[in-house]
């Protein structure tokens, strides 16, 4: 519960009793992320079936003659991981009331996320195979596509924070609107490291 209104000048509900130290919105975000992690889990299960369990699993990964752009995706990984740090910087700045640093951090985070997504689109165009080229391509597009969709959602949330940030809606006391998209953004980054490791590296 927000539980911020002290007085009731209108007929409203009684103030809910806060029975946990955890903020409801933060808890909700973590439960949502748990659910999201399981959605990724189902995609990783499909990946595991195709690559390990299946008796006719390909001997090399990806199967000849295809290649994954490991290096480009690695640079992309670095960009996304860096954006997690700038996100953290932005949140710390607004907590200290440094508005310019907060806005700079948010814009940097957004631009890096956008760069990641556009790089991925370019990668799709030049990767040399399509969804119909076998199960390895299915899990490649499945996992990276699912992650890309999450980056898109994350960017929408970040964009929202930037718009409201420039309007001066956040203060050192009230920054949940920054913190929650931030948690989500960190989740998206961590998930990418797992996806990158599973699909490109091993």
């Amino acid at each position: 519960m927000t539980a911020h209104a002290e007085t009731h000048d209108h007929h409203g509900p009684p103030l809910a009793h806060q029975s946990s130290r955890v903020d409801a919105r933060v808890l909700g975000m973590f439960l949502f992320i748990a659910s999201e992690a399981m959605l990724f889990g189902s995609f990783f299960t499909a990946y595991f079936f195709v690559r390990v369990v299946n008796p006719s699993a390909p001997e090399t990964w990806p199967p000849e003659p295809y290649h994954f752009p490991v290096f480009v995706a690695g640079v992309n990984t670095a960009i996304l991981v860096t954006s997690s740090f700038t996100m953290h910087w932005a949140l710390q700045s607004i907590k200290r009331g440094e508005r310019r640093a907060f806005l700079a951090g948010m814009v940097l985070t957004f631009l890096m996320g956008l760069a990641f997504l556009l790089t991925q689109v370019v990668e799709y165009i030049h990767v040399g195979f399509n969804t119909g080229d076998g199960a390895f391509a299915s899990v490649f597009f499945g996992l990276t596509g699912l992650h890309g969709a999450h980056v898109f959602v994350g960017l929408t949330l970040l964009g929202m924070v930037i718009v409201r940030g420039f309007r001066g809606h956040y203060t050192p006391e009230h920054h949940h609107g920054v913190e929650l998209p931030g948690i989500y953004w960190h989740f998206v980054d961590v998930m990418w490291i797992v996806v990158y490791a599973a699909v490109y590296l091993i």
Partner: protein, 654 residues
């Protein structure tokens, strides 16, 4: 993600911000009808978003030079089942608050205009009151229950005699599949969510759910999913016919209707994940002072564990249906052997959700029955803590048994015995619950009201279903009985004799609380006995025909089973007719039943300590909880003090 029973979000400093408090200039009634949030705007925005989705698909296909530009299967998936529903939701106003937030306009102070219902029209709009949402859920789910039941009677008519009489095999498969899908995703799961929506915040001493707007949104996803399942009959090729399990690769060769299943499940699943998340946050953060976890009513415990199951498991069915849809539309090969896909993977992923899902369909019922049995036998629940812990035990074990659905599917042999053992282990926490209910009844002052009859009917029928579940959990019997009517008998003993009986028990039990009026006890008992007898007459013989070897999911069968099937069909029509008694009783009593009073069952939990129906914000003052919820007949014991002013002993005691 914002929660607001109170004014604005904390991110917004408040009205002294320089913005005017209300931006909406006064408009005429016609303007508001077409452009204000509501069903009218929902319809035209759904159409507009359909066109938008169609243009995206056609535009991209034209850009890439793909033929045909108007590919109707893709358009149905993208425009018909994705963008149009989003347009509808935006139109009825589900996103209005969030859109204001997203574009950076200051959030409006909450004036509670979306809370509560003063006329029937308030049930047809986005409403943030958990009590209104609970009623919306229950009415919607019973509508789909009726539709699904009529489908069952249609295919029972077909099955009354060997040979084909009324429908062709593909339509028969469609009827069976849509029947199961509606009953599971549009009746049992959301009906429990409806009851819990109404009751749980009251039981906790909370003014509403933690995220009222999310709650409203998750309700409105439900009719969308239901509409998709039902309308799949009208598209070319007919409804999806691969069963509610939608096994690949069977589902991948099905006509267009299968896509309706793939995407409808996503909407229903999203709805239930959001509701579960809301329940969890509400239960963790909004309990009344003194309401420790060990003082929570068992219905709250049941919904807590169920919600954990939903949040963790439901994404797996989303994944499985995504894969099938990608295979069908985007030519991927997740489950296509020629492309290197792994066919059996579908069943693993699907059952990793759908086995926990049978507990999602059962645990809330356990909670309802605990409430009913305790208050109707005027005794504390026997072994309260163990009842709660056994729920948690089922939750944990429930994730380790999925492959018992696949003993004959050709999966790895070594997986069989571990899955058999965990399956049989689930009988322990479940058995604890059954014995606890019996021990609660022992030497109680039993009141055989309609909800109590349904609760007792549940305990007996569910035990039969549970026992046949133990048979099926052991590998050798399962191999013999797989894909016979024995399975159909088992599933209906646990889901009809189990879940549906508890839903009836819950609806009768909280009917006076929800409506403020009493149902007709005589008609209620008639409904129970008709249902109970015809239920057994319908499903008990199926054990026998199954063991004799009649396969399930067939529209035509051997002459040898003709007589029994005829009897089963007649019984099933009586079962269908028994629902008319229920519907009549509920509708008439809702309109002009006798006034029920606040606490007709003299129960102790918090929802009974307020008026019927409860006040718009549940409590004038958050109650103070001082003891357990089931201390019936214990001298001096009480569950809660309703207000500081009325701290004198009141009639919370039995």
């Amino acid at each position: 993600m914002t929660t607001t029973l109170e004014h604005a979000t904390p991110d917004h400093p408040g009205p002294d911000h320089g913005y005017p408090e209300h931006y909406e200039p006064p408009r005429g009634p016609y303007w508001r009808l077409f452009f204000g949030p509501g069903l009218v705007r929902g319809v035209w925005m759904a159409l507009a978003f359909f066109v938008f989705g169609l243009l995206i698909v056609a535009g991209l296909r034209w850009w890439w030079g793909w033929d045909p530009i108007l590919h109707w299967e893709v358009i149905a998936a993208v425009a018909g089942m994705t963008t149009a529903p989003i347009g509808f939701l935006a139109g009825i106003g589900s996103f209005d608050y969030w859109l204001h937030y997203i574009v950076g306009r200051p959030t409006r102070p909450e004036d509670h205009s979306g809370h509560g219902a003063t006329s029937w029209k308030d049930y047809f709009r986005v409403n943030t009151d958990h009590k209104v949402i609970g009623i919306q859920y229950l009415v919607t789910t019973f509508v789909f229950f009726t539709i699904g039941g009529l489908m069952a009677m249609l295919f029972r008519a077909e099955l009354a005699q060997p040979g084909l009489q009324f429908v062709d095999p593909q339509t028969f498969n469609g009827l069976v599949s849509v029947h199961a899908t509606l009953m599971i995703f549009l009746f049992i799961i959301p009906a429990f969510a409806g009851i819990a929506n109404f009751v749980v915040p009251l039981m906790l001493g909370a003014p509403d759910m933690a995220f009222p707007r999310l709650n409203a949104l998750s309700f409105w996803l439900l009719p969308i999913a239901g509409l998709m399942f039902v309308t799949s009959f009208v598209v070319s090729g007919g409804a999806f016919g691969a069963g509610w399990t939608g096994y690949a690769p069977l589902a991948e060769g099905q006509p267009l209707g299968q896509t309706f299943f793939n995407i409808g499940v996503q909407w229903a699943g999203a709805s239930s994940i959001m509701t579960a998340l809301n329940f969890l946050v509400t239960i963790i953060t909004m309990r009344a002072p003194g309401m420790t976890f060990w003082r929570m009513p068992l219905l709250v415990w049941a919904n807590f564990t169920t919600s954990l199951l939903v949040v963790i498991a439901t994404p797996f069915i989303a994944g499985s249906q995504f894969f099938v849809m990608f295979d069908r539309i985007m030519h991927t090969s997740f489950f296509v052997p020629d492309g290197g896909g792994y066919v059996l993977g579908y069943q693993h992923i699907f059952w990793f959700y759908s086995h926990p899902a049978v507990y999602i369909m059962m645990l809330p019922g356990f909670g309802i029955v605990s409430e009913v049995i305790s208050s109707m036998s005027r005794k504390p629940i026997f072994g309260y803590r163990l009842m709660a812990l056994s729920l948690m035990g089922i939750l944990v074990l429930g994730f380790s048994v999925w492959a018992h659905h696949m003993f004959v599917a050709g999966m790895a042999d070594w997986l069989r015995v571990p899955m058999m053992i965990t399956t049989l282990l689930i009988a322990i926490p479940t058995g604890i619950k059954v014995f606890s209910w019996i021990a609660t009844l022992w030497r109680g002052r039993i009141h055989l009201t309609t909800p109590m009859l349904f609760a007792l009917g549940f305990v007996t029928m569910f035990t039969i279903g549970g026992l046949s579940g133990i048979y099926l959990g052991s590998v050798p019997i399962d191999i013999a009985a797989s894909d016979t009517y024995f399975i159909v008998a088992h599933i209906h003993y646990v889901l009809f004799g189990g879940s549906v009986f508890t839903i009836f028990a819950g609806v009768y039990f909280w009917f006076p609380k929800i409506t403020g009026r009493m149902y007709d006890e005589r008609l209620g008992k008639l409904h129970f006995w008709l249902t109970f007898v015809s239920f057994n007459a319908t499903f008990f013989p199926m054990h026998y025909v199954g063991l004799r070897g009649m396969p399930r999911r067939v529209s035509d069968y051997s002459e040898a089973f003709g007589d029994l099937n005829f009897a089963i069909s007649i019984a099933s029509f009586v079962l269908g007719a028994s629902f008319v008694v229920f519907a009549y009783n509920i509708i008439v009593s809702w309109v002009r039943g006798p006034i029920a009073g606040g606490n007709p069952w003299r129960a102790h939990t918090l929802e009974w300590q307020v008026t019927s129906p409860p006040p718009i914000f549940n409590f004038d003052e958050i109650p103070q909880v001082v003891g357990g919820p089931y201390e019936y007949g214990v001298p001096g014991a009480r569950h809660a003090v309703m207000s500081a002013a009325a701290a004198e002993p009141q009639e919370v005691r039995a």
